[in-house]
Symmetry: C3
Subunit: 265 residues, 3 copies
């Protein structure tokens, strides 16, 4: 797969990416969008959630610190995104940790057409209906074959499904991509999961007709930057700073020589 | 204009600067106040917004992630600031992006005397009543002469008006200052606009009788630090870290040799 | 006192540490937990606050940007923590700044058994009933002997009391520890106080039967990392990045050679 044209499209179009997200990593989500060359906005008031979506090119939802008020705004924004025809990325952060998160995840999935559902293995397994537990927002143990879970949930919900991990799984439109970029250091920093969802939203905003491919490309670019950042840092938070700046500087040669996006036979 | 005495006053007085601000850059707003040598506090509960303002030396309001509840607290705090006679700085973040932001901006402006209205060109143009659009929180195109818009809004609202950009415009008390410091790198980082408002609030807190001059001085010091930070960094987020620390270390020689605050003839 | 085994226990057990905290430093609180090798989660919705506490090993509460809704969730979570028998750490951030903070602090202290009350001198003095004022969230002047205030409050509330400062005081179970690690640079960064509370929560999660000792050990490890970080940085925000990464890399030799935890005779 040719990855770099997707990054080039982000930098050319500079799309506005609306977020309703969590309070822990809200800065990180905004900055990763900006580092990719796009424009982030975060607006969760119910009175403007739909209007702000109406001027955006994608919507990213993340339930990391959800409340009922904020999930209601997410539903309004998602419906507005459907009306405008822009992609909605939903990070089911913490699904499987409490019944409330499971319930709200399903409510959002039922309230509007979600373009991309993204989570770690236990989050996605939970949304798919399996009886697994998530350790707060960190993945719990899942016995299932996650490629099959992703394919099945993708078919059931008619959307792209992303399972993050050492190998990311992207299932959508009957296709399957495996993104084998990234580095274990990412797990030592708070926010990399949320930033991955925002990266997907940014790439989907610039290529709304090829969401599964844009999703794989966004993940690959983010994780290639992570590989480069590890080489330039000596600890997790130094790594995170470099991650943003390696995204900002990412060039065609880096992307095409380092990308490991594969389609299993 | 002599800039350094304003910075010296901040460091000598260490004023408490109360904020009701947005959730994306709330840390950045607090840290820039602290880096200047002052003391930040953020308290948005309606039960204490006025009381916290009562022990502060300035109030900074920012509607980046506004909700109706929080804007109600902003009004309470602004009225308390008026009663105490301390400056209120209002960052009209995202005005022009949605009708709700426009409405809430005007409500806050009408609820109390605002000392400094600050925004980018499309935000300020919108608050001044022009029919322009803001791209989320990034400036949209404005055809108007922003110096005239700033002068006019300043006269109409009896306040200081700041239009940020490559050249910042500060209009207040019938005077006009142009701040020609800063660097394009600032636009690659989330938070520099909000930090500029907090810088203004910090300087206004230490010189409440000379708000237009303190505003220009605060902007100049913040942006001189940005120029120094660019030289010490190789990417946007590395730049942002250095920006804070260059503010912390800013000395008289740097300020007076680098400042480019001019008064047009 | 032998400090390193407490850090080793954190890294071995990787406990989940639930927070209901403030919006300024919520990322910092999460990251310091992660840097120590544990797993943070932040969930403040009343519908899940108790359930999330139910899968955690400690609960950290911080009223830095409190509202009534969020303090209600704190009470629910604290009661759930008591039912499960896990430690509750309460950072009385800003107590003494407004009557509302004083009232809410006392309500939380009365709603459940708090294991560790942590604050600066004026915050703790205020919670102990003395007539002192806090400058926002920065310590105000206190004439009292804080060792005696800590001992007395510890006895009255049957909990561990921590007074942070150049010398931290830890009083609990009739014992008194003084933690003489740390560096004045910590006061130039927003978030070090909140991160100290999260460090305590992380260590208490891994040693729930020795809370006063775990508290002293957590503070000491955090502040030893601060001493190391100062040597590797040239400004406050550079220092903060190093602080996280020095925590991540902290080893037995550093801990045991640098720790200055003393028990007064």
């Amino acid at each position: 797969m040719n990855i770099y044209p997707f990054l080039q499209a982000v930098r050319d179009k500079r799309p506005l990416v609306h977020h309703i997200t969590n309070w822990v990593t809200i800065f990180d989500c905004a900055q990763i969008v900006k580092s990719f060359g796009a424009s982030p906005v975060m607006a969760h008031a119910p009175e403007e959630a739909a209007a702000m979506t109406g001027i955006a090119s994608a919507l990213v939802l993340n339930i990391g610190t959800l409340t009922t008020d904020v999930t209601d705004s997410m539903k309004l924004a998602a419906v507005a995104a459907n009306q405008k025809g822009i992609p909605v990325v939903f990070d089911v952060c913490g699904a499987g940790a409490t019944p409330y998160r499971d319930q709200k995840s399903l409510e959002i999935l039922d309230a509007a057409k979600i373009g991309v559902i993204k989570g770690n293995s236990s989050e996605i397994a939970r949304v798919a209906g399996l009886a697994v537990a998530t350790k707060g927002v960190d993945a719990g143990h899942v016995a299932a074959d996650m490629r099959e879970v992703a394919r099945s949930l993708s078919a059931q919900r008619a959307c792209t499904v992303v399972v993050t991990g050492a190998e990311d799984i992207v299932a959508g439109d009957g296709k399957l991509f495996l993104v084998r970029n990234g580095h274990p250091m990412m797990a030592n920093v708070v926010g990399t999961g949320c930033m991955a969802a925002s990266s997907i939203g940014t790439f989907a905003a610039a290529a709304p007709d090829r969401v599964p491919e844009a999703t794989a490309a966004g993940l690959a670019c983010f994780e290639i930057a992570a590989e480069l950042a590890v080489q330039k840092s000596d600890g997790p938070v130094a790594f995170k700073q470099q991650l943003f700046d390696c995204v900002f500087r990412l060039d065609e040669k880096q992307v095409e020589s380092l990308q490991r996006v594969v389609t299993p036979g």
